[in-house]
Amino acid sequence: MQNNKNLSHAGTETLKKNNLRAFVSPWLYRVLLWLTPLLFLIAYFFLPLSKILILAFNISALTKTNFQLILTTLSFTFYQAALSTALTFILGFPSAILFSRFNFRGKSLLRALTAMPFMLPTVVVASSFNALFGDHGLFSSSLIPHPSSFSLILSAHVFYNTTIVIRIVGNALSRLDPKLEQSARSLGADTFQVWKDITLPLLRPSLLAAALLVFMFDFTSFGVILLLGGSNFSTLEVEIYLRVLKLPNLPLAALLSIVQLVFTLIFSILYTRTISQVTTQTAPRFSTSRLPKSFKEKIFVASFCLLLSVFFLLPLLSLPVRSLTRLEADRGQRGEVQYGFTTDYYRELFINRRGSLFYVPPIQAAVNSLGYASLTVILSLALGYPAAYALAKPTRLEKILDPLIMLPLGASAVMLGLGFIISFGRSLAWPWFVPIAHSLVALPFVIRTLQPALASIPERLRQAASTLGASPFRVWQTVDFPILSRATLSAATFAFTVSLGEFGATLLLTRPEYPTIPIAIQRFLSQPGGLNFGQAMAMATLLMLLTTLAILIIEKLRLPNSGEF
């Protein structure tokens, strides 16, 4: 009897021990997973952010002149963003109707064309518009009235963001149950009344979501405004840059970036709320698009296809064309412009001229960019992998960490640069900071690419493999790896592209002797002379080709239904 009792006691004891091990080891595993990404974020994001906060609320920053400057900058930022958003809708809304309601030849190609600018670096887009209408642009002759910088900025914003409207509103439109409109028609509503009383009210959440997202991008736009408008047009983002590098006033820059952060956070919260209403709407059942039938429909489809092709192709084509075109008047002979084919601008990139903008041949910028991009890939994958593993099956606590990891998305690139400068000192500017900043920008994308792939692997597959005798490594090799390899390559390409095109943070952090491609383009553009302009075009063309290649790779690797934006 006594013996028996002892035995049962011993039994519960071992049970407890096993429980403890089962409890502790996954907990430790989780901590280890989070350790590096969180430490990285704390050191390079939250710490600089807190430094900015401290500096911004310093007495020296809170002066009346500062407030006045912030107010004027803020109102211009709102004004240009609102105007850009409105213009984006004027082009985007009919395009959304075009893509969701009609079938026509070359539809997917045209759609891809409209989506293309969104993936391109800002410097490429800005250079494209410069190539077309800039001072040395293809249409810079006196025959055509010179478009103002402001209208160039607005058209570049429309060029960038039309795809957002097409995607969000177009998807909502094609998900709309056609029976609702048919019911309304049979109840006596004419086409106009159907739009007014049925379609538009039902599209409201997606229209609002698209507007918010477009507005947010226009609000924080930096490269386009700086490169197309110069310092004449000061948005919050441009003003932060100016107050760091041109008219140094770090407390003011910090205050400006806090103002901007607050607004972007408000916009992202509003956006998250509205987009959640969009997704809960009726699911697609069948395709609602068809060939245009009536005369009016045919006119609409034809004219918008033409308009979109011209609007999107012209800047994209003008960049490589301009980079190969000699377009300089001889000295003192203004107006007598000689057009001609030339590869000079490319050849010049390999020459280290005395008195040029760099101490190295300009092509060195491409080498630097590739190096930074490779480091960014390694760093962001190393940080993104553990976080994505943890977030693939998050516990309740980890669900709170998820938005924290995404927070760098809300901070602008220029603000990241400012944070680094305040925290680590400009004198310490160490080439390592560039890939670190790029990794901060790329990390949310990397995690968002890896996490759904990881979550899509059914646990049962792993269990089946291990019951069939596979060791943990063999399980990873045979189950996880084949699915992850695509996602990994896709995430890596994403990080690579982000790094290649990153402009704002790099502009603040890079050392003069280590320029990247975007920085080189900016320097060429900010200098007078046709040769500098031509070299900017050549550099931008190279960057465009590299990025396009990366986009194609990502598109090929994209997992179906891996979400958008």
């Binding site: 149950d177 029976k179 609702l180 048919q182 019911s183 309304a184 028609r185 049979s186 109840l187 006596g188 509503a189 004419d190 009344q193 009383d197 049925i198 009210p201 039902l202 409201r204 009726t282």
Partner: protein, 335 residues
Amino acid sequence: MLEIQNIFKTYNDKLLLRGISFSISQGETICLLGASGSGKSTLLRMIAGLEFPESGHILFNQVDLAQTPPHVRDFGLVFQDYGLFPHLNIFDNVAFGLKMRNVSTEKINACVTEMLELVNLQGFEKRKVTDLSGGEQQRVALARALAPQPRLLMFDEPLGALDKSLKEDLLDQLRAILHETQIPAIYVTHDQDEAFAIADRILLLHDGEIIRDGTPVEVWKNPNSVYAARMLGMGNVIEGEVKRINASRKGRRMNVKTDVGIFDVESKHHYDKGEKVSLLLKQSGEVEIKLKVEDVLFNRNQFQVKLRGGLVIHLKDAPEVGQIIRVKVQVECLT
């Protein structure tokens, strides 16, 4: 009232409807019965003006509707998944058609109340569409279609998504409402029970053509074709071969050999010896056959008995599997 003349329509390069013609008179409810994908819904949408036939005419009171846009046709349309406007409450859904006709507010209020009473949903005005059950939503859809007092009502599988008992309830209500309002109606379904419950006339649609047009009693008594018999759920259609033709003063008769025996049936057309024909066997008749029981299944208040040769009959008492039983049937030639 409504006249459909020789409608042709292709869909995805396939001829969907070929030469559909029929007409409806005041107060009549006709039912278009056909398998899914047979073009019934397309036909309805063409009558509503939401699609267009390649050839043929749709006339209402002798007026060709080809140039009439849907919103002035004054035809009500009710869908299977209701098509209620999710952003409007029940009142605004029912009032929609009246508002489009610029009816005064007092009249709209009175009419909506009346319509909701008619479909037994009084007091539901302020509710949201999403708060209602499927049956309630369908009644709102009916009230919405009825409110502007359309010249014609069309139902596209209106009860397809509802369960059986709810379906029967709603069918009763619908029949009463249609009878009371005297609005001519076209009811499209693939469910023969619904068709028999609601229709004054049944039109069977098969392969783009109307293969049978008649009152429920006529159609049930004389399906006239294998497809019709199958579509009406008359399960016992068997293949046979003409063995002998007996022409007499009473009419033409023939002997048909099948898997379950040789039958003497009336022949409606001329058949040659050796030709394949289809026979319809209905339970309870004069001809006695003996067959082995293969399977017995209890189905509601009777037993469903499967016999050799694929014949299915219904009995009050369960026979043993393997037993040979005698069944009295009535045999008709379908082809």
